[in-house]
């Protein structure tokens, strides 16, 4: 379809700005470069974007089991609350006496998430998960720096980790020590013991891990790191499996980030805005980015921690995303949070067992909220890869699972159904996956060439990287 620059004609546009009701001021120097923006009517504009939106698959459009991304249903009341003028029309620097409700919202959410995390303080400044990781690892860095312990130059990351973990550690000036995981993605205790030492700043870990398994040695893991003088960072990407059941703080972690856009149901918006709330134990609070919201005698105010690592973002983070998460947490409450986690785990296990009739599981045991299939055997026997099978799902209106992750599983498909999917949907999806499995044997070519029914078919990614057309070229 056409780009918006290819629509409309010069001279057309919308009437949005009034004429100037005061003397016009002319700047001494203005741009001479052209500003080639669209010349479209409101009708053209609306149709263009409506057409674009029809070429998007969202959670509202159908099953979206993107492993590690927790694509749960996004409640509409959350959107309604975030759209209240009492939140959207606030200036971030208006007097705090005039924004008590906004501070209260952050305080209530911080208190409830602190309890869910098992942490003593929470900041909402980080904008996303990776940004939360940066904040958390900087807390660890500030801790060692304050103690004058400059020998701690290494962060330990298991090879099953998300790519953001090693990238974050490197951004924080740390050397990354990759340690091997077992087939179940769990930490190899001997490898961990051999890696820790006086140069260990900390460990970054996701638990349940990226294979969907809860690392039962977690207390031993965090103890080994602590005994060596390091701190433990919890990557909350998979918190949805265990919220209300077990707390990262009780597993021995010192700080944590949680993706509010995963676990706490705020919409993903095509890849943001999210929010990466960071929690920490009391001894790290003084290093937190300021300001933190505090309450005294029913009044809310800001506190700037004394040894803060400094701001990681303007103002107080993605505030209006936090309003959505607040609405969600207040709705679910103590029982609902736990119910959501347990049903996420039930749904994953239900699909795992049903799919195991045909597919090979990377690790065929009770899993947490997600599980990984390995299509190595199918690929060998039929030539149909995980990618081919995923593309075949597109023709059924399904969003495929996460592909080729974690890296320790070959031909991986990682499935996370979430608690908001019904048994009927999962039954239907398992049937379709089964049909595609059979199709791999009966007509592999139809999967090599899939998808067939989408607005565009397989795209030339190599060509895109080579030709580097990254903007429209005006004639």
């Amino acid at each position: 379809m056409k780009l918006i620059f290819e629509l409309g004609v010069e001279g057309r546009g919308m009437s949005l700005m009034p004429a100037c009701d005061i003397p016009e001021y002319t700047l001494p120097e203005e741009r001479t470069a052209p500003l080639r923006l669209p010349h479209v009517s409101e009708n053209e504009l609306t149709r263009h974007y409506t057409a674009l939106c029809k070429r998007i698959h969202g959670v509202n459009d159908g099953f979206y089991p993107l492993g590690s991304c927790t694509m749960k249903y996004n409640p509409k009341i959350d959107e309604d609350m975030a759209a209240l003028a009492g939140f959207t029309q606030l200036h971030p620097l208006q007097p705090i006496e005039s924004a008590q409700g906004a501070l209260e919202a952050l305080h209530v959410l911080g208190t409830e998430l602190g309890e869910i995390f098992g942490m003593d303080a929470v900041t909402f400044q980080p904008a996303a998960g990776a940004h939360g990781e940066l904040t958390g690892v900087l807390l660890i860095k500030a801790y060692h720096t304050e103690r004058g312990d400059s020998a701690r130059t290494k962060i330990i990351v298991p090879d099953s980790a998300h790519g953001t973990n090693p990238a974050t550690a490197a951004m924080c000036g740390y050397q990354v020590v990759n340690i091997p995981s077992g087939a179940d993605g769990c930490v190899d205790l001997d490898a961990l013991r051999a890696s820790v030492g006086p140069d260990t700043a900390g460990l970054m870990l996701t638990n349940p891990n990226t294979v969907g398994i809860f690392d039962k040695n977690i207390l031993e893991i965090t103890r080994i790191v602590h005994d060596a003088g390091g701190l433990c960072y919890y990557d909350g990407a998979n918190l949805n499996a265990v919220m209300g059941v077990v707390r990262p703080g009780d597993m021995g972690f010192d700080c944590i980030h949680s993706n509010l856009h995963k676990t706490f149901a705020t919409p993903h918006g095509g890849g943001g805005p999210g929010a990466g709330a960071v929690g920490c134990k009391d001894f790290l609070r003084k290093f937190m980015p300021g300001p933190l919201v505090v309450e005294k005698d029913g009044r809310f105010g800001f506190d700037y921690p004394e040894k803060s690592i400094g701001r990681v973002k303007l103002f107080y983070g993605n505030f209006d995303v936090c309003i959505r998460a607040l609405t969600y947490v207040l709705t679910l409450g103590r029982s609902g949070i736990r119910e959501a986690a347990m049903n996420a785990v039930l749904n994953a296990n239900y699909m795992r067992v049903k799919l195991a009739e045909k597919f090979t599981m990377a690790y065929d045991e009770i899993c947490m909220h997600e599980f990984v299939m390995s299509l190595v055997e199918l690929h060998k026997e039929t030539g149909v890869s995980a990618l081919d099978l995923a593309k075949g799902m597109l023709d059924y209106g399904l969003h495929p699972p996460t592909m080729y992750f974690p890296l320790i599983v070959h031909e991986a498909l990682m499935i996370e159904p979430c608690e908001t999917e019904s048994k009927e949907t999962m039954d239907e999806v398992c049937d379709i996956y089964g049909k595609l499995f059979d199709l791999a044997y009966s007509d592999p070519e139809s999967l090599h060439t899939a998808p067939h029914a989408t607005p565009v078919r397989r795209l030339d990614e190599v060509g895109a990287a080579r030709s580097m057309i990254l903007r429209y070229s005006f004639a």
């Binding site: 500003l35 939140f87 959207t88 990238a167 993903h268 296990n349 607005p455």
Partner: protein, 439 residues
């Protein structure tokens, strides 16, 4: 209690049986029992029905004051938002989808982002834009690793930049063990002599904000020449509305242009979500952090869009990635794109002209009311009036507050005002009259 779990009790039993366990709790049998939460859960209140939660959260919103007139900017700017912007960007497909990993069913997000990238290039005059960053401050901070190399290790920033932006840059520099040097300002603008003296052979980059924190227009071309003469990269942080009128970053020699895109159709929303934008020269394309959308063709030769150049990114490069950024502010970037499409060149320029004209009108009115301008240089839509006495500043702001007007932000030795197209002549006259009365 509210719940979004559709499974009935009967279905649950059936599913548990399929899995081969007796209870939901049994699914967690691999977790050491001593770690599990006791007494069935958390120490937080029970959930609420939708009706109750609506009342509870609405009550919080109602405790906040929404000012009818806002004369405060300092990093967040209330502008007019065309109705069509929210109509488009509240569509469910767009709101509820994730990163376009499956390009075939994500063409809408990808093409919208490609159009956004094009518009950012047009606005800044640069060759290439990424798909967005968290905000203007983190975008500014992440330009430093783009410019740093083994010999050029130090980063520089103007003291006339937004203090919060400087603080974020400092945090990122603490992370990467980079020295960040603040170049002093003089008369509300970057001190060019100090800049010349500061930049040495180890200078990687200098960050200049235009218009700067005090609203003043910097002599960006002169700054660019000094920075380039020292062999460093010239990074500009720009206001996107001002960009519609001012010489583009490219025209004044910038190597990288960043900024906060909030003025492009996003609510001030107590600080977020906003978006950072980031554009650079073709030569520096591969140094850009974050996602980039590129055009390509499908197997049938049809034009389509994909995430591209991902060999820079964390999911491929891990610890060798150019940044750890993964999620960005995609929906906000899409929103900015819709805003710019709706405004068009004429709308953007008229908006900028209204801002600059009204700001000058109000500045003159305040001068007449007894508030002299602190700095004498050209300005765009923000300016500082001199008021050394904090007591007087408070009196002025309190009087405006009582009239439903959010006055300027307090800065060292004065008040930083901002006027956008939203302020009518009548509102500005009234504000000036109130100020005159208290002084």
């Amino acid at each position: 209690m509210g719940s979004y779990v559709p499974t009935t009790a009967a279905q649950r039993e059936e599913m548990l049986a399929t899995v081969g366990v007796k209870s939901l709790e049994e699914l967690y049998r691999s977790i050491p029992q001593e770690m599990l939460l006791k007494d069935g859960g958390l120490n937080i209140p029970e959930g609420l029905s939708e009706l109750e939660v609506r009342e509870r959260v609405s009550a919080m919103a109602e405790k906040n004051r929404v000012y009818k007139t806002v004369l405060r900017g300092a990093g967040a700017y209330r502008h007019f938002i065309p109705a069509v912007v929210k109509s488009v960007t509240s569509r469910e497909e767009l709101v509820t989808c994730y990163t376009p990993y499956q390009a075939e069913i994500s063409q809408g997000v990808l093409q919208g982002t490609f159009e956004f990238q094009t518009m950012i290039c047009e606005l800044t005059g640069m060759d290439v834009s990424n798909a967005s960053h968290y905000d203007g401050a983190t975008a500014a901070a992440e330009t430093i690793p783009m410019c740093r190399d083994r010999k050029r290790t130090k980063a520089y920033v103007s003291a006339a930049a937004n203090p919060q932006v400087i603080e974020v840059m400092q945090t990122y520099c603490f992370a990467s063990n980079t020295e960040l040097i603040v170049v002093p300002a003089k008369d509300g603008r970057t001190d060019l002599d100090a800049l010349r003296a500061a930049l040495g052979e180890d200078a990687a980059c200098f960050y200049l904000q235009q218009p700067n924190y005090f609203g003043q227009l910097e002599d960006a071309s002169a700054v660019g020449e000094i920075v380039h003469a020292a062999g460093a990269k010239f990074v500009m942080g720009v206001n996107p509305i001002a960009c519609a009128l001012l010489p583009t970053p490219r025209e004044v020699g910038a190597d990288i242009a960043v900024g906060d895109g909030q003025p492009l159709g996003l609510d001030t929303a107590f600080g977020g979500p906003y978006l950072g934008f980031m554009a650079t020269t073709a030569a520096m394309t591969r140094k850009l952090p974050g996602r980039i959308v590129g055009q390509t063709t499908d197997v049938d030769g049809k034009t389509g869009y994909v995430l591209t150049l991902s060999a820079r990114e964390q999911h491929i490069r891990r610890e060798k990635a150019s940044s750890n950024i993964c999620s960005n502010q995609a929906l906000c970037a899409f929103t900015a794109g819709v805003y710019m499409a709706a405004m068009g060149e004429a709308g953007m320029k008229q908006c900028a002209r209204l801002c600059v004209s009204k700001a000058h009108y109000f500045a003159a009115a305040l001068e007449k009311a007894g508030c002299p301008l602190k700095y004498k240089g050209e300005f765009f839509h923000e300016f500082v009036t001199e008021e050394a006495d904090p007591g007087h500043r408070k009196k002025v702001l309190d009087a405006l507050d009582a009239a439903g007007i959010l006055g300027g932000a307090e800065v060292d030795g004065g008040i930083l005002w901002c006027v956008t197209e939203l302020a009518s002549k009548a509102q500005l006259d009234r504000a000036a009259a109130i100020v005159k009365e208290v002084l």
